[in-house]
């Protein structure tokens, strides 16, 4: 590394050595001078490597004496899961959410106080870690295993607190009430049955067809992306469970009328009548036209 860097060469080699070299060429022929120059270059390289090694060892020694002392303060209270979560965080999240979960301007929001619910939703649906900055984080296969997600949740929860994941049967609620609440609170963005819909400027309410119970619950708790937070004051835990019950019942329900064509209403139906109905009939009258 240092051999290719002329600047470091001059800085390291200035001083007595130069005066020694300046004497040597006077002793012999131009060939000898060239040989000496070559030899001196090799020596210089060796010196560079040695200096680098010394620097690295020094840094390592300094770190090993200073760093543990700085960390020792919260070492005692951090569980092993939190420590593992911290490691994952520092590997995958730190560049946008900051060293201390405080967020980085124009990159990522602060995670202080978002709680484990937000971590579960964002990481379990694969939205985080983000691939690139765009209008909205798309969901994709989760990067972390369930165990790693638990560790990340523990770490974030331990540093700022926030909403926690529920336990028990998340579909334990009244079906009809869930439907009513869904249409009142969710349908305006997620469509009648959770098919999703467009929002402004490239943002969108995603389809909740493939979401599991916990993802829906944690989304309501944490309000990811453009979604409002539905805290327990807005929708009680029972009401959230009713909504989840409704969503999952409707999603699993077969369409009694035949192919569901996306369950998006008149746009899909209009497409079908023109592409299937009218096309089939045009084909039919071509066929009749070809008959005598």
């Amino acid at each position: 590394m240092s051999t290719t860097n002329p600047q470091s060469d001059t800085q390291l080699d200035e001083g007595p050595r130069r005066s020694r070299w300046s004497r040597r060429p006077a002793e012999g022929t131009p060939a000898a001078a060239a040989r000496a120059r070559r030899r001196s270059r090799q020596r210089r390289r060796l010196a560079n490597v040695a200096a680098l090694m010394a620097g690295l060892v020094l840094t390592g020694a300094l770190y090993s004496t200073l760093a543990p002392g700085a960390q020792a303060a919260d070492e005692g209270s951090e569980s092993s899961a939190e420590a593992a979560g911290r490691e994952l965080y520092e590997r995958s999240c730190i560049s946008c959410h900051g060293e201390n979960l405080e967020g980085v301007p124009n990159r990522g929001p602060s995670l202080i106080g978002v709680g484990e619910a937000a971590v579960y939703f964002q990481v379990h649906t694969g939205r985080m870690p983000l691939v690139r900055q765009e209008a909205q984080a798309p969901d994709k296969p989760a990067i972390f295993s369930d165990e790693e997600i638990d560790q990340l949740m523990a770490y974030v929860q331990a540093n700022g607190g926030g909403p926690v994941l529920p336990s028990g049967d998340l579909r334990d609620g009244d079906l009809a009430l869930g439907g009513e609440l869904f249409r009142l609170n969710c349908a305006s963005c997620h469509n009648f049955v959770g098919e999703g819909g467009a929002l402004s400027s490239g943002k969108y309410a995603p389809s909740i067809e493939d979401a599991n119970d916990l993802e829906i619950y944690s989304a309501m708790l944490s309000g990811p992306e453009n979604m409002p937070v539905f805290g327990d004051n807005q929708l009680t835990a029972e009401e959230k469970r009713s909504i989840i019950n409704y969503i999952q019942t409707i999603t699993d329900m077969p369409d009694p009328g035949g192919a569901g064509i996306g369950r998006i209403g008149p746009v899909g139906e209009g497409l079908v009548i023109w592409l299937v109905g009218v096309s089939a009939l045009l084909f039919g009258i071509f066929w009749m036209g070809s008959k005598a």
Binding site: E180, A198, S200, S201, M253, G257, M288, A292
Partner: protein, 572 residues
């Protein structure tokens, strides 16, 4: 029936005697005979209007079945039917009875879905039929009245569809009703009064479903039925138009008799339409009202759209800028007024007045019974394509949120694409269509003058290469064809004038005897001459000459500008 009516002597069979008895009293034999012998020209595009007619018949039948079970009342009940996710909710009787039709009435869901699909098809086939009339100039004198009736039918079909959309009182239709209410309110001066007249008070009240029900099942269907009857009577009286071709003039109609050929075709098409609608009704779910939920003014869903035929107005509303006009005296004209009332008013007025406008512009006041090919009237064709592109931009904008969502486009970008597209796409469509029409015209002329390109390249003694052209008729001393363009398709390929071996005709299965075709081909191998007379025989049958048997006789398939050519395939 026809046979008994024409029997010269006394009938011998029981059927014949009964028929004679009936004729003695009602004197129907003459008119019936005339009707059954009526000749209809044959072209696939003439069947488009029939699709609309048959969809209407399906609508009447399925609609009647639905009235047995639908209750048009907005009284609130607690649902206690088979559909669990809604059990225990308050809803109107109208919605509850729609749910019952879907889940508890035998065949109810199938009939309901068929009714809805048939409604979409009804309007779609009216539109396609109207485009055919427009582009072929079939609306010209003397058929302006029927054009007017047609436009009225289209408008009524839209209103009929809209009222039907509203009746189940689900969340989607209720959202539509809210928009209808807002549109009525936006009319300057009379808006509030009109709203009061329609809704019987403030939105939503308890009356509107009952009122729309009567409009939907009685008023508009009766008017539609009357207008359709008038439409058909005028058609029969004025006779159907036909495409130009050999033997066809402004004073005759070349085609098939109503009975049996045309009646057979019509019945077949009725069954095909019924089959398509039944298949859609049974296989593809439409308007699943149980998923939408009961109407509640506090709720509204994303992607609440009208059915496709009203979607262009939704699109115009989405594209129109929010230009509220404030007048002194705390009075305002909402932006909604322009895209939802003024725009369709202008569009339908233009549509209705088009025959008059064209007559004024061209000065052509003569009667026309022969149709025009779209390329021969480039201005009209381009105007039509321009209108279609304008309509399509509006239609797509009506579903722009769904498009934005499904194709990952920004909704804001979709709106601006629509706004800009609405202004620049139609003129581009006009210019392109105009050039295409002229190009097609010139190619027709070129083929008539120089003949068909054979693909045979010949080298002349001095080294020049020329492509051999096959003239379509007699040529003058320069080798130029002397045929004039007759408004009919010009053969452009050697196959169309018998350059290739004859193919066995038939769409799915052969309608000609393969052996006969083979014999003819063998004859052609020996030289063209032996096959010629036979071919002439099969194509020259005219109904006027006395109803030749149907084998291969296709008197209506025209397109030969000269004798000695081969009839066109129907799709050319």
């Amino acid at each position: 029936m026809a046979r008994t009516a024409t029997a010269p002597g006394a009938p011998t069979t029981r059927l014949g005697k009964t028929a004679l008895e009936v004729d003695d009293r009602l004197i129907v034999a003459g008119p019936l005979r005339r009707t059954l012998n009526k000749v209809f020209p044959d072209h696939w595009s003439f069947l488009l209007g029939e699709i609309a007619l048959y969809s209407f018949i399906i609508l009447l039948l399925t609609g009647t079945y639905l009235t047995f079970f639908f209750q048009a009342s907005m009284t609130e009940v607690v649902y206690d039917g088979s559909y669990a996710p809604l059990r225990g909710l308050d809803m109107s009787i109208a919605y509850a009875s729609t749910l019952d039709i879907s889940f508890d009435v035998r065949g109810g869901l199938l009939i309901r879905q068929m009714h809805h699909w048939a409604a979409l098809l009804f309007v779609a086939s009216i539109v396609v039929h109207m485009l055919r009339i427009f582009f072929t100039g079939a609306f010209r004198r003397p058929r302006e009245t029927n054009w007017l009736i047609g436009v009225a039918l289209l408008v009524l079909a839209l209103v009929e569809g809209m009222t039907g959309y509203t009746m189940p009182d689900d969340l989607l239709s209720g959202t539509g009703l809210r928009i209808i209410s807002a549109i009525i309110l936006s009319i300057p001066v009379i808006g509030t009064w009109a709203h009061w007249a329609v809704f019987g008070g403030d939105y939503v009240g308890e009356l509107i479903v009952g009122r729309f029900y009567i409009v939907h099942v009685l008023l508009i269907p009766a008017i539609l039925l009357g207008l359709i009857a008038l439409h058909l009577l005028i058609l029969v009286k004025q006779k159907h138009t036909q495409f130009p071709g050999p033997g066809r003039t402004e004073h005759n109609v070349v085609g098939n008799r109503l009975f049996p050929t045309f009646a057979g075709k019509a019945t077949g098409l009725l069954l095909v339409v019924f089959g398509v609608v039944a298949a859609l009704g049974g296989l593809v779910q439409i308007n699943p009202v149980w998923l939408w939920g009961p109407y509640n003014p506090a709720q509204v869903s994303a992607a609440s759209q009208p059915d496709w035929y009203v979607m262009f107005l939704d699109g115009s509303t989405r594209l129109f800028p929010a230009w509220d006009i404030y007048l002194p005296g705390n009075y305002n004209i909402p932006a909604l007024f322009w895209p939802t009332l003024v725009l369709p008013g202008i569009l339908f007025t233009l549509l209705m007045a088009y025959p008059v406008i064209e007559r004024k512009l061209t000065g052509d006041t003569a009667s026309h019974h022969l149709l025009q090919r779209p390329r021969d009237v480039p201005v009209r064709t381009s105007l039509g394509v321009m209108a279609i592109s304008f309509y399509l931009v509006l239609l797509l904008s009506g579903g722009n949120d769904v498009i934005a969502d499904k194709f990952d486009i920004s909704l804001n970008a979709m709106t601006w694409i629509g706004r800009i597209g609405l202004l620049i796409v139609p003129p581009i469509a006009y210019v392109l269509t105009y050039r295409i029409c002229l190009g097609l015209q010139q190619h027709d002329r070129e083929v008539l003058e120089h003949g068909i390109e054979t693909g045979v390249i010949r080298r002349l003694p001095h080294g020049e290469f020329i492509e051999v052209h096959q003239p379509l008729g007699p040529v003058d001393e320069h080798g130029h064809g002397q045929l004039a363009y007759g408004g009919a398709p010009v053969p452009k390929k050697m196959n169309q004038v018998g350059g290739a071996r004859r193919a066995i005709r038939g769409f799915f299965s052969p309608i000609e005897e393969p052996t006969a075709v083979e014999l003819e081909q063998r004859g052609e191998d020996r030289g063209l001459a032996p096959a010629e007379p036979q071919r002439e025989l099969t194509t020259s049958g005219r109904p006027a000459e006395g109803g030749r048997p149907a084998e291969g006789g296709r008197p209506s398939e025209g397109g030969r500008p000269s004798e000695g050519g081969r009839p066109q395939e129907p799709r050319d």
